[in-house]
Structures are given as C-alpha cells and as structure tokens.
C-alpha cells in the first residue's frame, strides 16, 4: 500500500491523522455547509447580516415549507422523477440487450458499432442540440417529458452499452457454451444466463444514469419551457432569479435538489464508485 499505512498501534498518530483529514473535508465542503446552514436561517437573521455565523434560531421547517408552498419546486421535483425513472429503466433494458449482443455474438462490423456507441458518448451535447431540438418539435414532443426521456435514453445508451458489453464479456465463457450446447436459444440465454448475472452491473448503471439524468441542465433548458414539464435543475435556476434576496429559501431549494442523488450515492456508494471507475477505466 502507498502511502505507507500508519501502524495499528500508533493510536495517537492515527487519531491525529483522522482529525487532520476531517479538517480538510470540512474545508472542502465549506461552500456546501454554508448553503446548508443558510437553508435553516430565518429571514430576520439574514436581514441583520448574519450570513456565516451559527444560526441563532433554526427555521428549518419554515424555510422548507416555504419552498413547498410558495414555489413550484415540488412540481419540478415530480417532473424530475417522471423524467428520470422511465429513462433509467429504458437505458437498463436497451443496454443489456446491446451489451449482450456486442459481447457474445461477434459479427463483421460489431466492433465498429461498439466504437460508434463509445465515441458518440463523448460528443458534447451542443453538437447535436439543433437537430435534436428540431426533431422533438417535429415529433410534437417538444416541451413534454417525453422529449427528455427519449433523448436521455438514446444518449445514455452509448455509455451504458460500453458498460454492459464489458461486464458481460467478463462473465465466464463456459456458461454460454454450456447453454448453447444444451440448445438454448439466444432469448433463453439472455433470460436464464445473462439477466441473473448482470444484476450488480445493473445496480451500478442505475445509480450512475440516475445521477447523470437527474443532474442534467442543458437538455432541460433546450427541450422544455413550461413549469409543468421542467425538471428541478432548470427550476432551481429560475427560482434563483425570482427570489434573489431570499437566500434561505433558495438554499433550501438547492439542498432539496441535491438530496436524491446524494442520498442514492450514500446508499449505493460501492456501486457508484465501481461503476464510475469501470466506465472510465475499462474504456
């Protein structure tokens, strides 16, 4: 291991080390901590200019209730769920299929198709913005959640195919040979061999794509307009423009937006990290 591990019996040194790292983390997250503190500050305190001190009075309930009752954040939050969940499910299904075929049924051109999935996934969003927007307008999907769902499924399928193809390719080949020797059809192989084995990969992929899609801002502002459809990211930025001086309300809304991915991350951390590194490292 590098750096050299601090020995188990050096209790004091270990304690000091953890203390030091805790300090670094506190500095690292200071901007976020400040926003969290502001989100529970009362209006009076903000008026009095207490922006960074410890809050004297906690207005947690008031501020968050204000976000739910006086702003459209709850609507945006619901929109985000309506967009993100079907998109994730769609990506998981499509990429299991493409990954399975590209890893287990090599044919002429299959490497080229794989390269297209991988390369396309690195393209900056702006490169496809105009035609995608135009396509959604012509399909009558512009400014509906379906525009975002269709786009996100299409785009994330690139990354997800890379991910699933590598995962399925790493499964033991004997399983597939045995299944084929017994005369299993491709569908049966998928159903009885692939699906039960790819669950960990699907979990990692689900948490990753959930985060990517939930956090998307660009497509939210390109493909939607009305409050009835807008996801939280676009909603938050609008809110910031409308509530310029009510920092506590905007802070509360910010925390509200950040909550689902952060909670998911802490619940499924191992999957998230392994997914991220595998996606980037295994290329």
């Amino acid at each position: 291991m590098y750096p050299r591990p601090i020995p188990e019996d050096a209790k004091i040194k270990r304690g000091l080390y953890v203390g030091g790292v805790t300090l670094v983390v506190a500095l690292w997250l200071l901007p976020l901590i400040a926003v969290m503190l502001t989100s529970i500050r009362s209006n009076e305190e903000l008026m009095a200019g207490n922006y960074w001190g410890w809050p004297q009075k906690f207005s947690l309930i008031e501020n968050y209730t204000a976000v739910f009752e006086q702003t459209a954040m709850l609507r945006f939050f619901l929109n985000s769920l309506l967009i993100t969940i079907p998109s994730v499910i769609g990506v998981l299904i499509l990429s299991t299929l493409t990954g399975f075929v590209l890893s287990r049924y090599p044919f002429r051109g299959s490497n080229l198709i794989f390269a297209l999935f991988v390369g396309g996934n690195f393209l900056p969003a702006q490169v496809m913005m105009i035609p995608v927007r135009d396509l959604m307008v012509r399909l009558g999907l512009y400014d509906t959640v379906y525009a975002l769902i269709v786009f996100h499924i299409a785009f994330q399928t690139g990354f997800a195919t890379l991910f699933m193809r590598n995962f399925i390719a790493a499964l033991p080949g004997e399983l597939f040979q045995a299944a084929r020797a017994e005369g299993a059809s491709p569908f049966q192989v998928l159903r009885h061999v692939v699906v039960p084995l790819v669950r960990p990969a699907l979990a990692a992929l689900a948490i990753l794509t959930f985060t990517f899609i939930w956090n998307d801002y660009f497509w939210a502002i390109v493909l939607t307009q009305s409050d009835a459809v807008k996801p939280v990211t676009a909603g938050l930025n609008n809110l910031r423009g409308e509530w310029t001086s009510a920092w506590n309300i905007v802070s509360a809304a910010t925390i509200f937006v950040a909550l689902p991915p952060v909670v998911m991350f802490f619940l499924m951390q191992k999957h998230f990290i392994s997914g991220l590194t595998m996606g980037a490292v295994k290329g």
Binding site: V21, L32, G49, I113, L123, I130, V150, G283
Partner: protein
C-alpha cells in the same frame, strides 16, 4: 414463417436485440451530430426554410471577435482544469489509509461529484458574492475587499472554471483511488527494501504504475473542460459583456436567443472537430493500453 424463424433465429434474435438501442442511438445522437455539419452550411432561423450559404458561416466565424473570446476562454478552462488530476491525486493519497472513520471521510470528499452543476453554480455564486460571500469573509479577515469576481471581465472565466474544478477534482480522486488500490505490492515492497521513501517512492515506483489511470484522468478532464456549459449558463450567462463565454455557450446563445441556427451549428461543428481530435487520441491511448495489458 415459423420454419424461417427457427432456421435463422441464431442471428435474428441477436439482431432484434441490438436494433432498438442501435437505431435510437444512431438516429438521435449520431445522425443529429452529422446533421449539425449540414445545417452549418445554411442560414436558418430554426422554423422557416434553410438557405444554402456554403462556408459563409465559417468565414463569418473567422472574423468574429466573440469566437476568439470563447476559444481563449476554453483554453483557460483547459489550463485551470489541468489542476484537477494533481489535486485529485494528492487527496487520494491523503485518504488512502485504513483507519476507522476514513471511509466516511472518503465518501464526503466525493459529494461534489454527485451534485448537479446547477447546484455547484448556485453554491459558488454565493461564495463569490461581493457583499456576503465566503470570499469576502476571508478577504475581510485581512481588512481587504474581495473583488466582485463574476462581474469583472478579467476574472469571470477564472472564477467559473475554478468553481467547476470542485467536482472535477473529486472525479480524478475517485480514479486515482482505484489506481492506488491496484498497485503492485511487490514493487512497493522492493522499493522499500531499496530505501525508497516518500517523494522518491511516489516518483519512481508509484507514479509509473498510475500512468494508465493518470492518462484517463487527464483525458476525462480535457473533455470536461471542452464540454463546459452549465456553469457558465448558471453563474455568468457569458457575461459581463460576453467576456466569459465558451464555445458551447456561444453556440447555445446564437441559436436559442438570436435564432441563428446555421451560425450556431458552425460553432458546434468547430467544437465537434476539436473534440473529435481529443476523443480519437483518448480511444487510441486506451486501445494501446488494452493491447499492452493483454
């Protein structure tokens, strides 16, 4: 039909499995990207008919001072983002200890990575706030006044890119931690026997083993810098006076706000060409690494 199916299902089923994803991806992502190049050869307001103008949009772009501002800012982003891999490595080295409580600290370091860029933009908008921001608080300790970074033409891009660095560092940290977990223990042991310690160990034994992860961290960071859009849109909307635009943002502005879709497409195409060069370099490096591993 059933007989046809039975005879051909060994390839028909896989083809049917592949097609939905492939068609959707080709149509929405790949064809759209190519279509952008086609649109860039036209004058188009986004609704009416397209008028063929050949390379006129590119000729205009070559004369457009705003284009050079964006290009210059993309370079600034790139340079600032290059801080992410070394800082990420440093943080990874700091937390790579097995002590109780370290795991939760590690996860806390990763938090910026899961925040939406909008969230990061809002958070740093306040850090930079000239009256009540964290920056002013720090400057105030020394009796100084913090500059209003986001409304200063000279500082805006640096301030926005520095804010975007936050999640990028966390990303690099994740990658380097994975790399540190795969170090060859024998080599480290041999290094220790030879008396290599600290900096020399890092330089001569550890870093060479991290070269692949380091390459990926750099490549991902370059691509991230070129893609930058959200933070600019949220923190400065390209201002003040268009001084903090990047190619991605200028493209969005020309299309959505000025209805100059042809011109926007030309900017997107330039971005596309720059990105393709980097993507090709990245994929080439990965394939080379995979071959040498096999």
């Amino acid at each position: 039909m059933p007989r046809f199916w039975r005879r051909h299902r060994h390839w028909l089923t896989p083809a049917l499995f592949l097609l939905p994803g492939l068609i959707l991806f080709s149509l929405v992502i790949l064809a759209a990207s190519v279509e952008t190049v086609w649109i860039s050869l036209h004058e188009w307001d986004g609704i009416g008919a397209k008028t063929w103008v050949g390379l006129a949009n590119y000729a205009e772009l070559a004369e457009d001072p705003q284009f050079y501002v964006s290009l210059k800012n993309n370079v600034i982003w790139l340079l600032i983002f290059m801080l992410a891999p070394p800082i990420g490595l440093a943080l990874a080295l700091i937390v790579n200890q097995q002590i109780r409580g370290m795991r939760i600290l590690k996860s806390l370091f990763f938090v910026p990575l899961v925040l939406a860029t909008v969230t990061v933009g809002v958070v740093f908008g306040w850090v930079y706030d000239p009256t009540f921001g964290l920056l002013q608080l720090i400057f105030g300790l020394f009796g100084a006044t913090a500059p209003a970074l986001l409304s200063d033409e000279n500082f805006a891009t640096f301030a926005v890119a520095a804010a975007a660095l936050w999640p990028q560092i966390a990303f690099c940290m994740v990658l380097f931690l994975a790399g540190l977990n795969n170090l060859d223990e024998d080599l480290i042991g041999a290094g220790r026997v030879d008396g290599a310690r600290g900096w020399r160990m890092l330089r001569h034994v550890v870093l060479p083993q991290l070269s692949q992860v380091g390459f990926i961290a750099i490549a991902v960071t370059v691509i991230g810098a070129l893609r930058s859009f959200d933070m600019v849109a949220v923190m400065t909307t390209g201002g003040p006076y268009g001084s903090s635009t990047v190619l991605a943002y200028q493209m969005y502005e020309e299309s959505i706000f000025s209805y100059r879709f042809g011109y926007g497409a030309a900017i997107a195409t330039v971005l596309f060409v720059i990105m393709s060069a980097f993507i090709a370099w990245y994929l080439h490096g990965l394939i080379k690494a995979e071959r040498s591993n096999a």
